[in-house]
Symmetry: C2
Subunit: 323 residues, 2 copies
């Protein structure tokens, strides 16, 4: 099932977000318009806005603030992607040139900052202290996660638990915040708000694990970007951590060397073989599936509705997706 | 007169800000502590916190919110410096290795984002919609100014008016916002708040013009960083714009070529001679002096106090300073 089908019950609101996302940016200086136009071409899945809207729908229905907050979380997410692409020296994202590839690293740093500040401008106009506080703390946690991930590049001591803690911060925190903002904007009670937040956290972690699997085993034409980017920048993701754990001690070091120097076609194939042999990607997939199952259990007590069904189906989509 | 003497009337509050500035950051992950410790060594002039506190004092006195806001504006300023240093590939700032030089570009991008989000976390805890809105809009304007400046690097068509518009956005906007936040937090009326905001805007512009002059004519050991960084990155600052304006048409092109390729000691000396011959730095200094005069006139109606005197003296300091 595609996300279009899953998100059918909120398609009008998703459409409104799409319309407003970049038209709202309308920079005062027209020299910036080209930058805004370029970023608008890198069309994402709008996963976080969908989580926010569905959480709102499951908590009693939407108010105009939901649309603004959905735009805020997507702008924040986009700002982090712009900065991530500089750090990873990524050239293509979703079949489109990255900001840094098209406009250079320098402008992209500033443009990421610009997107952050635009998000905060929309947020502060809402006059919701709780929303501003949740977003600030979330971005804080997100930055910490990103920094720790970077500080531990090429660190062969990174454990599965370290990895889970990093992805919880760098990815799942914003998914959890999206659900929380959706819920509290509809006046959800504590139980419902916490359940949706936990759902967002777990599904966010599953989302990142699958992203990391796709970076190893995905299809380049589906992904719209070169593969193996994580390992080439020294990030040990779950499949690799699993692989190293499964290897006999005397083979760990040589395998890690091979992993980190996988520039040739041969070494890539050798690593892929090892990952298959040790069922390392299967293990990561299973971890993601378990997280999605737990996420779905978190919201099982919510009365049935097309919106609850969409949240449950989003979970299945997250582990099934191929891009 | 040193800033220590000028700021004597608010020395206790300045001390409190110094104490809390980085201890408040206290990252949840201890791996970040080293980054926080490093940034704490690059001790700035704390010009923006001083403007905020003095504006508050001139508007009826300080409340605890002033201290928090002063920390917020300094953190925002520091975040922009961290990102600026990456863009300029600067290695030293105030005699201390820059973040990018010590920790690398990648971490510095994320650490700048982290400082922004910490500032917003402090801000959102204050529950002042107006303060959050002012800060968001200011950072927005600041980013626009920085982006436009960068887009116009090596652009020989940049006029004096373009330059003034850029520095108003990238530097003066945060100084103006500091004064405004100080004034409104003390319940200043519209006339007083606007006067202090205008004072901040003009003194901020003067501050940047002098900064740009010092980059050409300052002493490296006083500045604590290499000189000529602006022109080497293609930024035409006021002294150069003035110089080009004063040259006969047939010498403009060759001089601009010389300016942008000033890597050798000889070319640096030749440019310095040209700047002196055409009194281009004097002109920039005079522009800054006029702005400070106007800034001081803006607040002339405020009743005399040690705090008003400090604001007036800060103006004189801005054009007189050698670092």
């Amino acid at each position: 099932m595609s996300t279009e089908v899953i998100l059918e019950p909120i398609k009008d609101q998703m459409h409104e977000i799409e319309e407003r996302l970049y038209s709202d940016l309308s920079p005062a200086d027209k020299r910036l318009s080209d930058l805004v136009f370029h970023i608008s071409k890198i069309k994402g899945k709008r996963f976080r806005p969908a989580l926010l809207l569905l959480s709102g729908k499951c908590s009693g229905g939407l108010v105009p603030q939901h649309i603004d907050l959905a735009i805020v979380v997507e702008l924040i997410h986009t700002a982090t992607l712009v900065h991530d692409d500089i750090i990873d020296e990524a050239e293509v994202r979703r079949h489109v040139e990255t900001m840094n590839s098209k406009w250079g690293r320098e402008i992209s740093i500033l443009f990421g900052d610009y997107l952050f500040s635009r998000a905060y401008t929309i947020l502060s106009a809402l006059d919701s202290q709780i929303a501003t506080l949740i977003m600030s703390q979330t971005i804080n946690i997100l930055c910490e996660g990103e920094i720790v991930q970077f500080l531990r590049c090429y660190d062969t001591e990174v454990t599965e638990s370290d990895y889970l803690s990093i992805i919880e911060r760098k990815t799942a925190s914003l998914c959890a915040a999206s659900c929380k903002l959706g819920a509290i904007s509809s006046g959800a009670n504590k139980k419902l708000s916490e359940a949706l937040t936990n759902y967002g956290l777990k599904i966010g972690m599953a989302f990142q694990i699958i992203d990391d699997c796709l970076d190893v085993m995905g299809k380049e034409e589906e992904m719209g970007k070169p593969l193996n980017s994580d390992i080439q920048s020294g990030k040990l993701t779950l499949p690799f951590i699993r692989l190293v754990n499964k290897l006999p001690t005397d083979r760990k070091e040589s395998t890690l060397e091979l992993i980190f120097q996988n520039n040739s076609k041969d070494s890539k194939a050798a690593i892929a073989d090892l990952l298959v042999e040790h069922e390392a990607v299967d293990y990561a997939h299973e971890t993601a599936r378990q997280l999605v199952k737990k996420a779905q259990e978190e919201i099982s007590f919510i009365p049935d509705s097309v919106y609850k069904t969409a949240l449950l189906e989003l979970g299945d989509y997250v582990v099934r997706r191929e891009r």
